[in-house]
Amino acid sequence: MPPIELSVAEEVALQSGRPEPVRYRAPSAWRARLPKLVTVLGLLTLWELVSGFGVVSSLFLPAPQQVLTKLVEIATTGFMDATLWQHTEASLLRVSLAVLAALLTAVPLGVLIGLNRTVSSAVDPLIEFYRPVPPLAYLPLIVIWFGIGEVSKVLLIYLAIFAPLVLATGSGVRRVEQSRVLAARSLGACRWQLVRHVILPSALPDILTGLRIALGVGWSTLVAAELIAAQRGLGFMVQSASQFLVTDVVIAGILVIAVIALVLELSIRYLERRYAGWAH
């Protein structure tokens, strides 16, 4: 049997009769983030190498610098008669309108569903029918009914956001602790005050989670919405660039869409921490 090897510290500890205290080291933030950084840098390097050595034609995969230059170019001089900002603005406006409309309709309906069994069972088949259908599948119908204007685009995004928001609000309201409702009633709350002071704040964490999911779905639907004869918008920009094989604009557009999605996700997470932190 080979002798057990001891480290210097252990030898010292043994000889002095005092065991070396085991120090707990918390995993540093850097250590946890390092793999992410490696993946990102690795991908960028691979991209650089593949395009730099001409493995793939720049028609299909332009170099990172080329995409960056193009990004600056479309931001200043524009692409398809509009600058990057105008495309972004058009897309954000459509999504914002859809989100606003969804918040104003889905949250009240969700509260009703959560409070009233009859409303819940009446609305349920409607939502369950269209919710699993991909927006692209009912897009043609929307075009037939509402034409190819802004209404159709906002409506498509709105429909995609509406269902998850109604369902999240409804389940949040159903989960409100009964003793809190009783407590508020015994303190003199009327029906409206119950909703305003107990039910809505109780359900807020679920509503925000629903909104986060809904925004993800809505942003994904955006590109589909902008396939309908749009003149502006990030989805339109990428779509028309692909038709002319302007790959650098396609990649730049995809990057911008991804960054905005990330910013939306992070802002809802911030709202969750700020206003629903009590639930976690």
């Binding site: 602790e177 407590a183 015994s186 303190l187 003199g188």
Partner: protein, 265 residues
């Protein structure tokens, strides 16, 4: 002087295994200055009784009245303290205490002032801006008590308020309840499954039996008044009279089965 009466009240629930008689012809009266404690094992209808007084539910037979008028719903004249604190975790401690005042649209500065005074009264001065999640179980129950007191109710209805607390915290809050009672003269109805707690707090003690829920015994222990007169809680509970009363209740009503054990868990 306000009076809350439960008059010959019955409540039954239909279940798949037949009708359960939660309460069967129960009568009870609480006046200002009384501490009426309902003692019983689980399933004896204690909480149903409190729900009737609070106005959360209606009896199937009999009447529940407040100063002669039938109770038709909850009201700010009856403050309720729940076993699970039922606080609003998105509000600060002070805003929880002032919840009833917010509903009555009392102005912000007056709300704050009254919340601070109430929190001092329940021993929580300095915790006004704490979040509910940062407070211990005992502190939350104190807060629930302060919230119920904010409306200056004629009656405090407490549903096993100390059930989930550790022994030491329990003792402290028992004394706090009697301090508030002495200071305000509010009529108190309290539910417990602890014999000791019931004996210590009650000016009138009713013992309930389960299924059907009936009052099987009424006592008038004098220990709460001795505490109000200045005697310490510890010396009261160590008094041979107190110990004898406790053992007597235990042997007469709870020793024959393990029900009290079940209730405790």
């Amino acid at each position: 002087m306000a009076r809350l009466s439960v008059d010959n009240v019955s409540v039954h629930y239909p279940t798949p295994r037949g009708v359960v008689h939660a309460l069967d012809k129960v009568s009870l009266e609480i006046a200002s200055g009384d501490v009426v404690v309902a003692l019983g094992a689980s399933g004896c209808g204690k909480s149903t009784l409190l729900g009737l007084m609070a106005g959360f539910q209606r009896p199937d037979a009999g009447r529940v009245t407040l100063d002669g008028a039938t109770i038709t719903g909850p009201g700010a004249d009856r403050g309720v303290v729940f076993q699970d604190d039922a606080l609003m975790p998105w509000l600060s401690a002070a805003d929880n205490v002032a919840f009833g005042l917010t509903l009555q649209k009392v102005g912000r500065s007056e709300r704050r002032e009254r919340a601070e005074a109430l929190m001092r009264q329940v021993g929580l001065a300095g915790f006004e801006d704490h979040r509910i999640g940062e407070l211990s179980g005992g502190m939350r129950q104190r807060l629930g008590l302060a919230r119920a007191l904010a409306n200056r109710p004629d009656f405090l209805l407490m549903d096993e308020p100390l059930g989930a607390l550790d022994a030491l915290t329990r003792e402290r809050i028992q004394s706090l309840i009697l301090d508030i009672w002495r200071g305000t003269g509010t009529g108190i109805f309290l539910i417990t499954h602890s014999i000791e707690e019931a004996l210590f707090l009650a000016t009138e003690l009713v013992i309930l039996s389960p299924r059907p829920g009936r009052i099987v015994r009424r006592l008038q222990p004098g220990f709460a008044r001795r505490y109000a007169a200045g005697e310490s809680a510890r010396s009261i509970k160590a008094d041979p009279d107190f110990v004898r009363a406790r053992e007597d209740i235990l042997n007469a009503h709870f020793a024959y089965d393990e029900e009290i054990e079940h209730a405790a868990h």
